[in-house]
Structures are given as C-alpha cells and as structure tokens.
C-alpha cells in the first residue's frame, strides 16, 4: 500500500474542520464493547513532524459525524477500540514539528489520496491495518514539491504490535481487552 501526495499540499494544512468534526462523538463503554479493534503503526522517523492524530472517514460520507479519530500512542501506534460496523476510508494524519522540544509552531497534515485506503467492518473483530513507514521523496528541482509515500514494512508484525496494543488497552480500561487477547492467542 503506497500513498503519494504532494508535500506542498500537506504542509500547514491542519484544517479547522478536521479538528472540529474529527471525533464529534464519544462512544460509551457499552458502545465500544460492541465495536471492533482497529490498529496499526506509522514510523515517522523520516517525516518533518511527529505523529499525533489520524482520521478516518465514514463511507458513504454522512453530513453528521463524517470522521472518526484514532488514538495515537508512542508517536507511532494508531488504534481505535470500538469502531462501529461500516465502511471507512483513511483520510489524513498529522502532527507538528518541534525544535529542542520548545518551538512547536508548525502543524503538518498529510492527506491520503481520495482513492483506495478503505476497509470494511462487517463483523466485530480485530483488524490490523499494517505497519508503515513514512518515506520522504525529494522533488527533482527547486520548484518541485517534495512528496511522500507510506511504505508497508514487515516489522513489527501483527502479533508484536498487538502485544503492545493490549498493554495500551489495559491502561485505557478498554472493554475490548478480552477480544484482543483472544485474537492474540489465534496468532500464536
């Protein structure tokens, strides 16, 4: 799964509407218990920013609550415990640049292409989206924008990442811990 988009279209485009409608609704613990665990990882070592948020869009896109925001942990793991059934398309992710941990003055938003990047949740379960690495691609000329790809990587594996995710779910007091542990056993 490769994603490529002009960095010029990404830098600085932290849209107000994304933050405004990204996670407009908070699920109750009972609702989360009915949903699915969706998780993955993005290695942002080559990115100009850290990794703070990831947003997915409901398909077909409703006017009310079109986005669901994933939680981002350890600057690399994204997860959603309790995503309801439906079709979703990865929309965007982002963070901010920092210098000496003091000057966090540049927001970055990386938009997924308008095609592909989709997944369907038909039954409650555990869905591993994959492990990816942000790859910077330099433009060819002075006026050519830099680009980026998300390149699928083999490490960590689903099992390795799920072990970390279960630790996070326990800290969050997630109702999906038993579901995740059952899935982990199936990966043994």
């Amino acid at each position: 799964m490769k994603r490529r988009l002009s960095l010029i279209g990404a830098i600085g485009l932290l849209f107000v509407y994304l933050t405004g409608c990204g996670g407009g609704r908070t699920l109750t613990k009972e609702e989360r218990a009915q949903g699915s665990l969706v998780f993955g990882q993005i290695d942002m070592d080559e990115a100009p920013s850290n990794f703070q948020w990831l947003s997915t869009r409901v398909i077909p896109t409703p006017k009310e609550l079109p986005y669901w925001n994933f939680g981002v942990h350890k600057n690399r793991i994204f997860l959603f415990d309790g995503l309801p059934k439906g079709s979703y398309q990865m929309d965007s992710f982002g963070g901010h640049s920092s210098f000496l941990w003091i000057f966090n003055n540049q927001d970055y938003s990386y938009n997924f292409p308008g095609q592909g990047n989709g997944f369907r949740i038909q039954d409650q379960g555990v869905y591993f989206m994959g492990a990816f690495k942000y790859k910077a691609i330099k433009g060819k000329g002075f006026f050519t924008a830099d680009k980026w790809d998300l390149e699928r990587v083999k490490s960590p594996t689903e099992k390795e990442l799920l072990i970390e995710v279960i630790g996070l779910l326990k800290k969050m007091d997630s109702p999906l811990v038993p579901l995740a542990e059952k899935h982990l056993r199936s990966l043994q």
Partner: protein
C-alpha cells in the same frame, strides 16, 4: 469593510494561483466544432459515467463557510480524461509531462475533444473525491488567507486509439467506469449508443460529418 477587502482579494489570488496548477486549462482538449481542428486532427466523442453514479454526498465538500469560486464548482462536476502519446503512469493521476491534453467532461454528457494526428492513448480518468477549504485568520481575528485541499481518484485505462487518414470524428461510446465505495477501479464497460449519439454529433458538427466507431478496452 475596507479592512476585509485586501485579505479577501489575497484569498481570491491564492485560490486562483493554486487552481491554475490544478485545472491545466491550457492543456484542455475540448473543442466546439470542426473549425477548431488543424490538418490531420480529428474529434473524439463519447461520454463518461461512474457506476455506481455519484451519490448526494459526493464529492465530499468541506468549505467551512469559505467562498467557493465558480471554477471550483465546475471542477467538482467534471471528469478529466487524460490523453497522451504513450501509456500513462500505473497508478495515480498523470502529472504534467505524462500527458499531452485533458478532456474535461461532465458525467453523462457528450464530450467533444481534439485528437492529434497519429496514435493517442486514453491514459486515465480522474475526478474530485474531496474538496476542502477554509479561511485562516490572524491572531486579531481578521482573515489572512485560504487553504485548500483536493483529493482525486484516478482510474487507469491506457486505451490506444489510432487516427486514420480522413477521420473526422471518432466515437468511443459511453465509458462506464465501475468502482467500489473506496473509488477503486473495478472495470470498464463500453456501451455503444451511436444510434442516439449520432444525431447529437451531426446536430453539433454538421449533417455530413464522417463518424468512425472505436470501442476501447482498458489495458
């Protein structure tokens, strides 16, 4: 009011400049009639449609109250069919240098576009899936600029069309692009509607215009 004028003009300029990159108007292959052709050129005629057709929520538009230029409104309705001398990129929308011209067509309507002598490839078709813009503000609350983001889907065809001596119109029928809910290309269906379209072609280009039918396939 005057205080708002300069920022708004700046917004308009920014939108205009950024759209110039997107629209590629100078690359447009659309023609009005045979009079627009030079020696050896022909007119490509057909229709583009999506299956399933666009729903009410497509494309996704998030303007957050900001002004939308007419050119953007047109862009949101349009399909772009890229013409090139060679096959286009394996994925994504062709970039400048990959293609020679763009046919802009409203979904379902007949398009009329110029074909240069020789062979041409219908490289791919793209359309806007999401459009977002919002006005940014200074710390004092006044408008500072406008930010945009445009996401497109591209469906690769790479269908070759060879112009023959004496060609005036090449009719390719209704190009129905099948897709899933994530706008992944699921196949091309070509529907020959020449019985109906021939009248529209002759009404526009003249009763004696010579039409040759070429039904393409996706490669």
């Amino acid at each position: 009011m005057r205080r708002m004028l300069i920022p708004l003009l700046a917004c308009a300029l920014m939108v205009g400049c950024s759209l110039a990159q997107v629209m590629h108007d100078s690359d447009s292959a659309n023609v009005r009639g045979l009079g627009d052709l030079k020696d050896g050129q022909a007119i490509l005629v057909g229709r583009i449609e999506l299956d399933p057709a666009r729903g009410k929520s497509e494309p996704v538009i998030e303007t957050n109250g900001s002004w939308m230029p007419e050119s953007v409104k047109d862009m949101l309705k349009e399909a772009n069919l890229y013409l090139g001398r060679a096959v286009g990129p394996q994925k994504g929308e062709p970039e400048k240098g990959d293609y020679t011209a763009v046919i802009k067509a409203h979904f379902g309507d007949l398009f009329f576009a110029r074909l240069d002598p020789g062979s041409a490839y219908l490289q791919s078709m793209s359309y806007v899936v999401r459009y977002g813009s919002n006005i940014t503000h200074k710390t004092d609350g006044s408008a500072q600029g406008m930010q945009q983001r445009i996401a497109k889907a591209a469906m690769r065809l790479n269908s070759k069309i060879a112009i023959q001596a004496g060609d005036q119109v090449i009719y390719v029928g209704r190009l129905r692009f099948k897709r899933d809910e994530f706008n992944n290309f699921k196949g091309l269906q070509v529907i020959d509607e020449s019985g109906v379209d021939l009248k529209a072609i002759r009404d526009k280009l003249g009763a004696t215009v010579k039409v040759r039918k070429v039904l393409v396939t996706a490669n």
